[in-house]
Symmetry: C2
Subunit: 256 residues, 2 copies
């Protein structure tokens, strides 16, 4: 089967920590030189696209900002399609920069409450304001709904628990716009002008990357780097279309 | 059927806002003079028992502090029975005073995380600390798990959403010690030395008061004050053992 294009997860696939995965720089170079289309698809919600592109560049990856798809981009597309753009954003870091020009941020009346990794932006008052918007008719958008992540000082709450809190309080179900949402994959596919059956998703998360890609009609290729664990693969019930030791082996699955 | 003793909800039954329900002062006076045992059973977690007794006294109710049962008392009993007393408390107001002498509050290693109405005590860091204790083996105690309450400036998140957040993050199920927990009713029954079948619970909440009391083997008497609404009664599927216009009609159900 020929693969025309790729969707590539970032953390754990191209790099771990702040270091490129061995051979990943060459593999990205080869993709670019051979003219094969690709986009990067990450669920990170703590950094804006520009910051991510800068960090990739510092590691040696020449990946333009426009190639990077993170959940804020999906949220902006969702609001645009809905024709409503007043939103309250609960998120940390500089991710708010991905929402500049997308509508009215933190208005008195909101159409959407958007929850990402909130960190210190999370206070009783900010969560209560979100709750009140939801009770007044706003819809709840979750950039992702992970349970926790490993911060430098230990396990730390991710966006999921706060999404769950607002769902419990309001009886409303969140719209998840990050992976494994089909519309998020579709955004990146449309940007490449490719159909799902022409594309393989490369990731280290068996659920959001592999099962998610397969449910969206793509192939899912698992890498044995990042958060990959044999046990999670065995226990997942998911069968990847391919497994490679690392992103450096990308040529093997092009069918070229 | 003769009723030997009473469990009485506070807010909405004896008072609404800061004003006694019409006839409630006389009705409590009659209970006391006639020597009928009673205890007050409330799910409030924002005030300690001493503060509640003081507010009752200011309204004219001569109810001693020891007659007041709130979820902290149930939590303390739960920890004592478990033989472990190191706890992190996430709560607001002066409710921490009900935990004085109950064990070690906010230790480096906790056996329990106890969540009440957290209000301003709720920060990302305090919730994250709770999360880490739970991941290190602490058990989660919910003083109650209401969704929200009506504060002076509008609907506001109660303990439930934060309990739900911690459950989502950890995969752990909270132990709810407030109404309608059977062990909470049992604490107050034991304090009166009465069996469930000798006692009626008087409340305005069809679920936590009436269905809760019935599940614990008591009679449940609904009052048409406080949060009582005909629709919630009709839609509840719960059949109270009696309905009275207000607490002032308490004599009618004593069987005396």
């Amino acid at each position: 089967l020929k693969t025309d294009g790729f969707l590539i997860d970032l953390d754990g696939v191209l790099y771990v920590g702040n270091r490129p995965v061995g051979g990943a720089l060459d593999a990205i170079g080869w993709l670019i030189e051979s003219g094969r289309p690709f986009r990067c698809l990450s669920n990170t919600t703590r950094k804006c696209r520009k910051t991510i592109a800068g960090q990739l560049s510092a590691m040696g990856f020449p990946i333009p900002e426009e190639y990077i798809f993170t959940p804020p981009r999906a949220a902006v597309a969702y609001m645009k399609a809905a024709g409503k753009t007043r939103f309250q954003l609960l998120a940390t870091g500089d991710v708010d920069r991905d929402f500049v020009g997308a509508g009215t941020m933190n208005p008195p009346q909101a159409d959407f409450v958007i929850v990402g990794d909130a960190g210190d932006a999370l206070t009783y008052d900010s969560l209560n304001a979100a709750f009140r918007h939801l009770m007044d008719g706003a819809a709840l958008i979750a950039l992702e709904r992970d349970r926790y992540w490993m911060a430098h000082d230990g396990l730390s709450l991710s966006a999921g628990p706060f999404v769950a809190a607002l769902e419990y309080a309001t009886g409303q179900q969140a719209i998840v716009v990050g992976k494994p949402s089909k519309s998020f994959f579709a955004l990146a596919l449309a940007d490449m002008g490719l159909r799902p059956d022409q594309v393989a998703m490369i990731g280290d998360d068996i659920v959001t990357d592999i099962a998610g890609a397969q449910a969206a009609g793509m192939r899912g290729i698992l890498v044995r780097t990042g958060k990959f664990r044999e046990e999670s693969l065995a226990g997942s019930g998911v069968k990847p279309d391919g497994i490679i030791d690392s992103f450096s082996r990308i040529r093997e699955i092009t069918g070229a």
